[in-house]
């Protein structure tokens, strides 16, 4: 029953938390660390709202056992912007790519994972990259447009 200490970097900063046995990373980040940007949508791996990057790769934090991020680098939407917004955030604003905003942090992380690997994706690659993330509001089209606009350097309305 004992909690386990976990040390990892969160958006570049070293963090320590105590993980409950069986606790998933989503819960650890939200309640253990206070990073509320990953969202609960299903805890089944079906919606992508909890998407974070671990060592650069997109993961469903609801399906990651919290204590297994020991020593790894976790990125969330909270780390996307500093003084300035990330180009993806800017593009999502310009393209009206968010309505309720609940899927947005996970969607942004899935898009970041794509662009980090493939700076000039095709539309099909964008569709594939966000296929693990559900949006119930937009019909995806503005999201795809926003991501492509970052890729072709034309974040525009």
């Amino acid at each position: 029953m004992a909690k386990k200490p976990v040390t990892f970097t969160l958006n570049g900063t070293e963090r320590a938390a105590f993980a409950d046995p069986g606790q998933n990373l989503l819960d650890l980040l939200r309640r253990g660390v206070g990073d509320l940007t990953p969202k609960y949508g299903c805890a089944q791996g079906g919606c992508g709202a909890c998407t974070v990057l671990i060592d650069g790769a997109p993961h469903l934090s609801c399906l990651v056992l919290g204590e297994t991020v020991e020593g790894r680098a976790v990125e969330t939407a909270a780390g996307l912007s500093g003084a300035a917004l990330h180009p993806l955030q800017e593009a999502f604003m310009v393209h009206f790519a968010a309505q309720c905003g609940y899927c947005t942090p996970g969607m942004l992380m899935a898009a970041k994972a794509l662009l980090d690997q493939t700076p000039k994706p095709t539309r099909e690659e964008v569709e594939e990259a966000i296929s693990g993330n559900l949006c119930r509001c937009t019909g995806y089209e503005p999201i795809i447009a926003a991501i492509l606009s970052v890729a072709n350097g034309s974040v525009r309305a």
């Binding site: 998933n24 469903l60 056992l65 569709e127 594939e128």
Partner: protein, 268 residues
């Protein structure tokens, strides 16, 4: 209600820990953590950090793929290009970054697309702490009582064109399978020798379409053989109904999709 999480440095230790029977092995987490989240919590969660599980290495005519290799790792490996079509169809990017080859063998209906490809290719399973390998088909017949999978040994098709994979789903590009099909049709002198056709989402686990295999064995891959294989594809198979498709529908279209896959292979 709260599980004990045990992390072992080696696969052998993890396998010993599994022997008592009350533990569940944690690989990529996409199956086990979902169950844990839903309250199906094992007494013990057993995992290992053993790097050998992540290794991919040639073994004679086959490739040995560590059970802990993820779909993304598999997709990055050129030796395994023949499996890419199937691996690419597993889940979305997140699931592919997490889900492992070993875990895919245990995915319940309608999942397990990679296992379909592996079954069609006649892959064998290396169990932890056991010498030799057993046919994947054996493991798929009874996945409840089994040990810990260390690796898969998958024969490399001699001719890349002899293997084909097709997944049919209702949501694109990521959707669960209405049916998935792996077809391995090695040819000798223009005749098919050792035909293997595997279906996913047509049973509790991936299974072989024996009637279609028989229809193709010894034949040239021509329109007539393809039509015969398509016509008998669902023979002896009682596919499940779910929210994606009924048993009737799966039976009706599995042959159509098999035919289309074979036609695309025929065209090369």
């Amino acid at each position: 209600m709260t599980p004990a999480v045990e992390t072992y440095a080696t696969l052998a230790e993890a396998a010993r820990a599994m022997a008592s029977g009350d533990g569940v092995y944690l690989a990529g987490g996409t199956l086990l953590m979902r169950a844990v989240n839903a309250g199906e919590v094992p007494r013990r969660i057993i995992r290992t950090t053993d790097r050998t599980l992540r290794e991919i290495a040639p073994v004679g005519d086959a490739v040995r793929i560590g059970a802990g290799v993820t779909m993304v790792e598999l997709l990055q490996n050129r030796e395994l290009a023949f499996l890419h079509a199937a691996a690419r169809q597993v889940g979305g990017p997140q699931i592919r970054a997490m889900g492992t080859v070993g875990g895919n063998l245990f995915a319940p209906h309608p999942y397990g697309d990679l296992a379909v490809a592996l079954l069609a290719l006649g892959a064998r399973v290396v169990m932890a702490g056991q010498a030799g390998a057993r046919p994947l088909a054996d493991l798929l017949r009874d996945r409840a009582r089994t040990g810990l999978v260390a690796a898969i040994e998958c024969p490399r098709p001699r001719d890349a064109r002899s293997f084909g994979f097709l997944k049919v789903s209702r949501v694109h590009p990521r959707g669960a399978s209405v049916v998935s099909i792996g077809a391995h049709l090695p040819r000798e002198g223009g005749r098919i020798r050792g035909a293997r056709i595997a279906f996913g989402a047509m049973g509790a686990a991936p299974l072989q379409a024996s009637a279609a295999e028989r229809a193709l064995e010894g034949q040239a891959l021509d329109a007539a053989a393809i039509a015969r294989a398509g016509a008998v594809a669902a023979q002896g198979i009682d596919p499940p109904s779910d929210s994606l498709a009924s048993s009737w529908y799966r039976r009706e279209v599995s042959g159509v999709h098999l035919r289309r896959l074979l036609e695309s292979m025929e065209r090369g």
